[in-house]
């Protein structure tokens, strides 16, 4: 039982980070129909920049995070302007290849700067584990889960009530109509990329605190695909539900199936789910059913 609960908690924490990254992913897809294969690299940038600020420049952790997020806003806007803007209205394959190219470019630059070895954050959260009944959980996990949940809540409220949020929803709904109401769609897309970069960076900082940072963290950028397909590519609640579901599934598969198959099931289960969802219900749990049947 303890083992089971332990697995559930790990799954929830991983799921929360997936939900965060998937959230950015879905935002970009909704506002501009772009599948961003570089989401994992945004996460990596966030994790590394915050780490460097804390370790090399001795910036206090919270200030470092704030600086990192500011930088990620800039990065998101610049990337959108330089790389994605020329592809508005282009064929799907061009857009996919552009973001794949972007992910190669970013990963290359990241590795040129920080190398490939794993770097560890100095202990920021207290070491002492917390007891929840019979389950022992380290504080990093609880903090990560808490931060992710708060952020998701904040963004949900932001979209529901703030004027920027409403404008973004309008633009996502129908770009032409939004444009004719005097909304600058270009500005909205830029904001979207900034938000996506920021949530990915936060996910990176959280994961970095748990496992340390190395380039393989960018793999999350791929793991997020099963999440968004399960939840529905254009659904924000879907990203959150999908994130937790895939996180739990992965963790359960890792706990119970990995010993049977000698490892690796954890990574492949989400993709099996992905294929099944694509076959049965390509628009996912909460997505809009507008997929064109061939």
């Amino acid at each position: 039982m303890t083992f089971f609960l332990q697995i559930i908690i790990t799954g929830l924490v991983v799921g929360a980070v997936y939900a965060l990254v998937a959230f950015g992913f879905v935002l970009i897809y909704k506002s501009s129909d772009v599948i961003n294969f570089a989401q994992g690299e945004f996460l990596l940038v966030g994790a590394y920049v915050a780490l460097s600020l804390v370790v090399f420049y001795q910036v206090p952790f919270l200030a470092a995070v704030a600086l990192t997020l500011t930088m990620c806003v800039l990065l998101g806007v610049v990337v959108e302007r330089l790389v994605l803007r020329p592809f508005i209205g282009e064929r799907v394959i061009s857009v996919i290849m552009a973001t794949l190219g972007l992910s190669l470019l970013m990963r290359g630059i990241i590795q040129m700067i920080w190398g490939t070895e794993t770097r560890v954050y100095p202990a920021i959260f207290p070491d002492a584990p917390v007891r929840l009944g019979e389950v022992v959980v380290s504080q990093v996990y609880l903090w990560s889960l808490g931060v992710a949940l708060v952020l998701l809540a904040v963004f949900t409220v932001f979209f529901k009530y703030s004027s920027t949020g409403i404008v973004m929803r309008a633009a996502a709904d129908d770009q032409a109509a939004a444009q004719s109401m005097g909304i600058s769609v270009k500005r909205i897309i830029a904001i979207t990329w900034a938000i996506a970069a920021v949530v990915a960076a936060i996910g990176g900082v959280l994961l970095g605190n748990i496992n340390g940072v190395n380039p393989s963290l960018a793999y999350i950028g791929l793991m997020v695909l099963p999440v968004v397909i399960l939840g529905g590519l254009d659904s924000v609640p879907g990203a959150i539900v999908g994130g937790f579901t895939i996180g739990l599934l992965e963790s359960l598969a890792g706990g119970y199936l990995d010993p049977l198959f000698g490892g690796g099931v954890k990574e492949v289960v989400p993709f099996v789910v992905l294929l099944v969802v694509l076959m049965v219900r390509p628009y996912g749990l909460f997505g809009k059913e507008i997929i064109e049947r061939v």
Binding site: L105, F271, L275, V294
Partner: protein, 347 residues
Amino acid sequence: MDCGVFTTNYREDMAILHHPGAKLKVLVVVAFFLALPFMVNAYYVSVVNLIGIAIIGAIGLNILVGFTGQISIGHGAFMGVGAYAAGIMTATLGWSFWIALPAGGLAAALIGGLFGIPSLRLKGLYLAIATLAAQVIIEFGIIHWPALTRGPAGMVLPAPTIGGLVLNNDTTFYYLILAITIGAVVFALNLFRTRTGRAFMAVRDRDLAASVMGINLFKYKVTAFAVSSFYAGIAGALWGHYLGVISPEYFTIKVSILYLAMIIIGGLGSVMGAIYGACFMTLLPILLRETADFFGGGFAGLTHIMLAMQEAVFGLLIILFLIFEPEGLAKMWHKVKEYFKLWPFSY
């Protein structure tokens, strides 16, 4: 050049060797490649070998992506299927390479066709994601089926023999690769002059319209996946037997992306484009390395920076080509030729 060529019927217009000098040109090119190993040293021959294998794989991917419009991020895995199928036949079962090579291609075609079935329901983005899933699942299969594939450790493959001759060095293998590459190019060029090839292009341009015109989408989409994977399988099997070892890390998603980059940079929907792209992407890392050796030779920590830089340059090139010349090197070369066609009286 080829000015003053006026075709008067469809057959002439569709001819691959379009103008009188073309036959001569092809002969010269083939003769050049036949003589190549006698003119340069073994290192360059090995580079050309790698280019040849990349050409086969890239043409395969271009048939699927460039000509049929179905996106695949699983090409690397399909190469792996071919390489492992052929490798199991030669190394474990002890069959002849000459049976294993086509059989490896067929195995890849089978698996590729299987993963092509979702293309009926899925388009664009969704198909890309489905093929990505194929890549991850096949990689998992290769690593976690040690009884068949020997897992992460990889397999050692025997060199093919022909008559009494063992093809175990660059030069002998060169002629094998050259023959298969020429076959692959000629087949692909001719494919697009047949009903099947035209159907592929019709599916790419507008599948609804194609279907209205009586093209069976199921048949042609799965065929495109199968043909493309067959090429991938042949390329993989050749690569494995050329290197003598295969392991799962040769067939990762990076390989898939590399091949996509080849056809984007070379030119989507062009056989020649696939060739240019394969040459370019194989030579680029070598050139980068030589440049680095030239400028910073001897720096110990340079290797990993070089690898990272290579990745960054690949990414940058993909983006730049997509923005500035989406039709790739093939189009650039075409423009150059057009300019000189009536030169110096170009107007």
